[in-house]
Symmetry: C2
Subunit: 337 residues, 2 copies
């Protein structure tokens, strides 16, 4: 690799002039500029970010740490984030914490060492696992999941509203015995969605049966076994609200394996499913999240911080879910119940 010195020598100028040409940071006479430009081209000179960053203490790197790369929801976030990061002139360093707080801790330290200019984090731990000032000294935006009492910018969805919308819809169809399969209760998303469900039922003087509320990992397999268990019992619910997209797939598989039909025997509604998820049949009734918008917003906030265009202490942006009606729910009278 050619260095700035090689270019300077070849063009017969000082490195300062080459730098000025590269960064357009001072006036350089047309003649010299031309010499420099040709030298750059002929030597195929590309500045070393390592050196530039050392000097400027900037890395042009933005880290994204998601909770589970195998989940299409996060794959979608990665897609949007890559585009947004590139558009802002940075590059994306990707990490997968795989829903493991230990892995996340290692990732956070790695991000620091790499000297990333900022990071977007989908936190996987309970609020109390983070130090109060965990994110100080590094521009940070929390995406999707909130950490209570934390000092970082946050972009989330209104999870409570999502749960409310989905369960309201099931209630409108006449369902009363409604179950829920939700994620780990220490996560703001799981808790919010369940609260929304309880809200919706309470508004009609109802409450879910304790045995019909089950939480587990945000994974297809976990949902599958929980669903098999719940649906195998005689007083099984007539409708289920599943708190996330991949879990919904597990639930549908469990339902099919039990010889039940969806929606005839059981209605299923879910949240955060990726749009048009691979032609799933029947198409899920679900609340969708504006993933791309949320991700773009997260990066806007982050770049604002990095480039110090902003001083407010903490900004928190909440998006609204939208109910998308598919074919996975039926009015109750179609059921045995």
């Amino acid at each position: 690799m050619a260095t700035i010195k090689d270019v300077a020598r070849k063009a017969g100028v000082s490195t300062a002039t080459v730098s000025a040409v590269m960064n357009d940071t001072a006036f350089v006479s047309p003649e010299l500029r031309a010499r420099v430009v040709t030298a750059i081209r002929e030597l195929r000179y590309e500045p070393s970010l390592a050196a530039r960053n050392l000097r400027r203490s900037r890395s042009q790197l933005i880290a994204l740490a998601v909770a589970d790369l195998s989940n299409p929801f996060y794959a979608r976030i990665v897609w949007s984030a890559e585009a947004a990061v590139a558009a802002w002139g940075y590059s994306l360093v990707l990490f997968n914490s795989d829903e493991k707080p230990d892995t996340e801790r290692r990732i956070l330290s790695r991000i620091r060492t790499l000297g990333c200019d900022g990071m977007v984090l989908v936190p996987v731990g309970a609020a109390n696992q983070y130090q109060p000032h965990e994110f100080e000294g590094m521009a940070t935006v929390l995406l999707g999941r909130a950490i209570e009492g934390n000092s970082a910018d946050t972009v989330t969805i209104d999870n409570r509203e999502a749960g409310r919308q989905a369960v309201d819809y099931l209630l409108d169809l006449g369902h009363r015995r409604i179950g829920s399969i939700t994620g780990p209760m220490q996560l703001s998303t799981s808790k919010g969605r369940l609260d929304g469900m309880i809200d919706a039922m309470a508004a009609r003087g109802l409450a879910p049966q304790p045995g019909h509320i089950r939480s587990g990992e945000f994974r297809e397999e976990a949902a599958y076994s929980v669903a098999r268990d719940m649906m195998g019992s005689p007083d099984r619910p007539t409708a289920i609200y599943v708190a996330n997209g991949v879990m919904a797939i597990g639930v549908m598989r469990a339902v099919a394996d039990l010889g039940l039909r969806c929606p005839q025997d059981i209605s299923i509604a879910s949240t955060d499913t990726v749009a048009g998820a691979g032609g799933l049949k029947p198409r899920l009734t679900r609340t969708e999240h504006p993933i791309a918008d949320m991700t773009n917003e997260a990066l806007r906030l982050l770049v604002d911080r990095i480039e110090e265009r902003v001083s407010e202490p903490v900004r928190s942006i909440v998006f609204q879910p939208a109910l998308i009606v598919g074919e996975s729910c039926m009015p109750l009278r179609g059921n045995a119940g």
Copy 2:
């Protein structure tokens, strides 16, 4: 941020000693080592990668540039790659060329500037768009798609075999009018799969009708419109081999929109579909690729190169596809014929 100098001052030693302790690169007496270690802890010292990399001319970064992040196939690669890269002690910088050669060119230059130690590339251009020595000076592995006459290590699938397997299966079911919707012909994957199809038919003295072979972008929308067009004509094929997973989804949608049923009215087989793609119904008959293995192998080759454990000029590894029978194909007599 504390620097190595601060640590050295605090511990009353030279920076060289601190460095030796950090990297375990020279013997340091237990006493001094202890002083250094406590100083490091008390100052919360973390070495700056920018400086270290400048000195070592290493970045600990591995770039991955995929062709289309919206395609679950590549999302799967990203997932595997992140894990493998982390396991080797590097971090992953992700890029999406979005099947655009221009974007890819910018990405390659960015990767150089970032000083990544190596890169895994899913190339999007025709072979002649690359200079013969395009990848010299940077450890490179091409993944999924080959570039003829190129000098980089390559990990691919036997595309010809994939096409052969899928179409053989359709032929075994009695189909004779078989069509194909495939990707851009300048890509080794598209060409190989189509060649395999032609092989399979030739082996039985058959050849596809010209109008039944159509190529287009590797995207759902492109496949949708091509499929609508092809299936709308009176001499439509009785079976279609679709050259990639997302295209298969588009084709199934087109088939449904035309009021046709799969597999009763038309059999569909595809290649490179992601396993268990979101519960698609009917489940596709397809050739699957060992994506995780391929990605791991690509990174093994890459790290070999980076750490200079290898000297052979070019290594090329070809994986074999496996036919997975789903429910999207039926014997011909079930059809109009």
